[in-house]
Point group: C7
Chain length 239, copies 7
């Protein structure tokens, strides 16, 4: 069945309707919002995890310093998303509440997958019940629990564990570069460089450190921190 | 896919339906209501924040003195909106309740972003659940907490921090002027003048002080106040 | 986009749907019900406020004496509406409950704007949530609190303060007359005469005192009262 | 806009949709059910109120004696309706409960308007909220409180006070006769005769006393009672 | 407006939509289900009431003895319905609960009209609120309270008192016979014979006593009982 | 009105819509699911009841021994259904809970009709309220209380008592055979043989005892039990 | 009726609508999602049960080791699903809660069918009520209680007991192989080999042990465990 036909018959206009091929078109359309989001990468190595996001100076009077693309979920977990900004913000809150609840119940840091599953389960609900639309956002949720962890959760509520993953604009180009160059036994510094190098594959990217937001969670501290502009600049120079 | 087609297929007639491009047309249409609203500007400098709104004497018997375009949210926060007036009023109340709750819970003034997020989270809900329409209004929420803050929140529930921002009619012209002339290290008086000068770029504007409502929150007092007509007049003369 | 097209595409058939121009057609259609209502005028001067409504003897056996167009909300506030009669009655009740609650909570008379806002906030809700229609009625709510106050609230939930305002049939003609002749420093008697004179601009009106219902709230007593037929007759004679 | 167009565009198929002219077609259609109802008249004079209904022997085996067209609401209030019989019965119950509640709360008989407003407010709700249809019935509610009272409430929830009013089939003919002959200072007996005479204007009516149900509430007793067939017969003879 | 047009415009596909003529087509369509039901008759005379239903041997292996067409509501009330069998069963339960409640509250047998009204009020609700369909069933509810009573309630929720009434298949033929031959001052035995004779007017009926179910409530005992097959046979013979 | 037209006009696409002929098409369509179900027979005689179902080896790796077509509701009641398997399972649970509740409340075994009515009343609800579909299943509920009982309940919620009844595929052929050969005064063994013989009328059936599941409830024990494969085999041989 | 017609008439676009053939198309469409899922097999023998799933290396940077296709429900029960991943995850949680509740209530391990029924009953609800879509997933739930048990539950909520069953891509090829080669009296090791051999029938499969996830529940331990890569490799070599 051609796309145009599914559309004419209306299989693509409600989250509660399967198409004859067993597809949920509304979930697939939500993915389009993700593909238009700013690109962001998550990756892990033996020494920890890296999450890096590219930013664009589209409006000169936006307070660029305050434009955060990477969000702390807990001491040991960070997230970055691509897609509808307001949807993403809601799910960041969901992730934070999940992490907080876990600490409250078990008195220890939440596993990264626990937080990912909380976000993904809510997403699933929004793909099965009428009167709502799916969340138009994919999130990379990364951190260190017993080991480095990088998860990516899609609008459908599906999530998987990745060694490295890119979402948003140009994610195909970014993924190709990562697939060709990624190794698990990099140092954390090497991984940061690899990720920044990936962004530079995309033609419009520049070596301006202000255009990148980078967070790491090292295995030894299990404490997330964002790199300073100076640190990012140094990494870019050393590429 | 051309606009006309999206419309014919009905992707643009419910908040709970993504178009095949991953767009929420109803949210974009709500933006049109914002664009028709009276223009308003928010800006910050090292000495504080300025919010200024232009008013029009469309009906001569409207009690112009009582026509408020700038609203106090708390001692240290003001807001101004463009779009559907009744929607804006509802969200001003939401902002006030958020600021009040914060004081009640933490016994200190609410951060400006806290209030902005409360308003924006409600807006997001109205873009994802059926049986409602999005709020047809953008708000500039500005004030001083640890530093001067200017946020602008859109019908989608997205918000960002701005150095200076204009919404409503002619916002493109206003933004162009601000982008060309804005500097962060202006004095508060200079910033007021810059903002008033911006309004004068728009052809139909006049130097009548009654046509402008201006509020400032200086960093030293952290207390919002509206300029008197005399003060506005003086600023206009000195341009 | 031409009107006919908006209609064919169905943007005008649900309160929860914005048209591509950012309009809520259902709210605009509700306004049409207001425009067909009997005309009523509210005005204020330094000595108080006047609300005056014209009545028509459409059915001779209607008990004309009992046909009230002006309603007391509290000692110091009156209202008159144009539009769907049953909708107006519901909102008069809302206004009365708001005034009563205020007295109960604060042990003093409600500000006129407080009552107006209560009515307008309910109207806004009926423009944003599905499964209902907007209220097809505009109200003039007038009274004296710290000063004379005249508000007019529209089906959209928007309200403004007016020096003088007319709603219902021929409101354009009435407004034109008021705009040409209104002055704030009239005496209350002069204001009553001005308002009655306005009605006489409309061709079908007559000098029959039974066709006018007039209420005043003087600044000194802050107590609303309706003029007797004799008083209205005297005013009409003196025009 | 022609009727046919409103219909084709669907403005007339939901209570929650205004037509572009600001009309609620569903409420107007409900009126059609009223116009097909059996005719009934309410009238008042200085000595009290009369409610009279005409009945038809459409099915010979209907137990005509038990077919009540006039219902007691309280000692001093009666009602009669035209339109959908089951809808009318529901609203008669609403009226009775309102009268009972009033007695319970204030320990005195309910004003006739109080009861009328209770019925009318419920009607209004059914014209503004989705998922229901308006009540297809108009009621004449008449009685004596401080003075004789006759109200008529429409499907829209609008009600007015009348000197005399007719609803149902041939209501135009009945109203014309009443308008030509009604005087307030009739005796109650004269008013009964006037009302019966009105019915005889309609061609198919006969002087059969069984075809009329007549109730009166005299000012002196404030107690409603139905006339016996003999009384009606005597009145008919004396015409 | 022709039927076909009402149908094409969709006025007949929701209980909450009036047609332009003020009709509720869904209620009228529910009536069609009644007209296809097995015929049943209720009648009263000075000595009591009779309810009689005809049965058909459509499936030979149906346990004909257990196929009840007449249901006891209380000692003194019986009912029989035509239309959708499952709907009828639900309403028989409603009637029984109403009778039981009455006994519980007032410690005496429920008036027949009280029970009829309970059933009819529920029916009315199902004609005014969305998301349901009307009950596709008419019931004859008959019994003896202060006097013999026969009520018939329609899908619309309307009910009336009858001397004699027939519903279901061939109800026009049955009614014609009853209208021609009914007298109130028959003995109960004579009334039973009249009713059985009515059924024999319909061509396919036979003198097989198993094809008739007959219940009586005599005025003296006020206790409903069903006639035995022998009794019915005797009556049939004596015709 | 032809079928195609009802379908084009949409009368058949919601449970809450009567067609102009007073039909509920969705209920009739649910019946189609029943007709495609595996055939099952219920029958009673003076010595008890028999329920027998045919099974097919459609998938060779289905664990045929565990494939139950007959379900125990209580010691003395069994059931078998044709139609949507998951719907049937839900209703078997409903029947069991009804039987359990009855024992709990009255401390004695539930009458077979009590259980049947509970199931049927739930079915009726699903034919009258929107947002659901009817149960696509018919059940034979059989057992012994004061006497042998066999009920069959349809998707509409209608149920009747049968001497013998067949549902599912080929039910017409099975019924014809039963109608021709059934007698109430068979022994239970003879009844089992009659039922098995009925199945053999349908061409594709075989004398393989594994293809039949047979349960009996003898009047003397009032305890349901399933026949062993050996017992079924013996009956088949003796045919 | 051809498929295209059902689709044009809209019978296939809501879970609450039967088609004229008594089909629920939305449930059948959900099945299509299952057929596109990765294939998985469940089988039982006298010594226990085996569940085995094939995995594909579609994205090289997915953390393949963490990609689980087989989930533990309790010590003695495992499950694997084909279809929408997020839906499957939700139902795995449902199964776990059911098993936990059983232990909590009865203090012993839940029967495998008990868990299967809990999952299936929830699925059924999602096929009968509006505003939701069916679960687009089939699950194999296998374990050992009194004996080895393998159940498979479909999107419709129907479930059956199987000796061996395959779902997902190529399920027809897998089933054909199993039907031809399955025997109940295999040892558990032989059964594992049979299942792996089945996967190799599908052309694109390889003898790479990382591509298979295998779990067993032996009758003697009643404790589920997953085979190590080495164990799977050894089995593959021995084929």
């Amino acid at each position: 069945m051609a796309f145009g036909l599914a559309s004419q018959l209306g299989y693509d206009r409600a989250i509660t309707v399967f198409s004859p091929e067993g597809k949920l078109y509304q979930v697939e359309y939500a993915f389009e919002a993700v593909k238009r989001g700013w690109s962001t990468i998550g990756a892990k190595c033996k020494e920890g995890v890296v999450v890096a996001a590219s930013k664009k100076k589209v409006q000169t009077l936006v307070d660029f310093d305050k434009l955060e693309k990477i969000h702390f979920i807990d001491d040991h977990i960070v997230t970055s998303f691509a897609g509808l900004a307001a949807d993403g913000r809601v799910l960041v809150d969901v992730a934070r509440r999940a992490a907080l609840n876990y600490r409250f119940l078990y008195d220890e840091p939440a596993p990264v997958e626990y937080v990912t599953k909380a976000v993904s389960d809510l997403k699933q609900v929004y793909t099965q019940h009428g009167g709502v639309r799916p969340f138009g956002v994919s999130l990379i949720i990364a951190g260190v629990d017993d080991e480095p962890q990088v998860f990516m959760t899609e609008p459908s509520g599906q999530y998987m564990s990745y060694k490295a993953v890119a979402i948003g604009q140009n994610h195909h180009i970014l993924m190709e570069f990562l697939e060709a160059n990624y190794k698990y036994d990099l140092s954390l510094d090497e991984l940061v460089k690899l990720v920044l190098k990936a962004f530079l594959q995309v033609s419009e990217s520049e070596k301006d450190p202000e255009l990148y937001e980078v967070a790491v969670v090292p295995v030894d501290t299990k404490t997330a921190r964002k790199l300073t502009v100076e640190e990012v600049a140094k990494h870019l120079e050393e590429l």
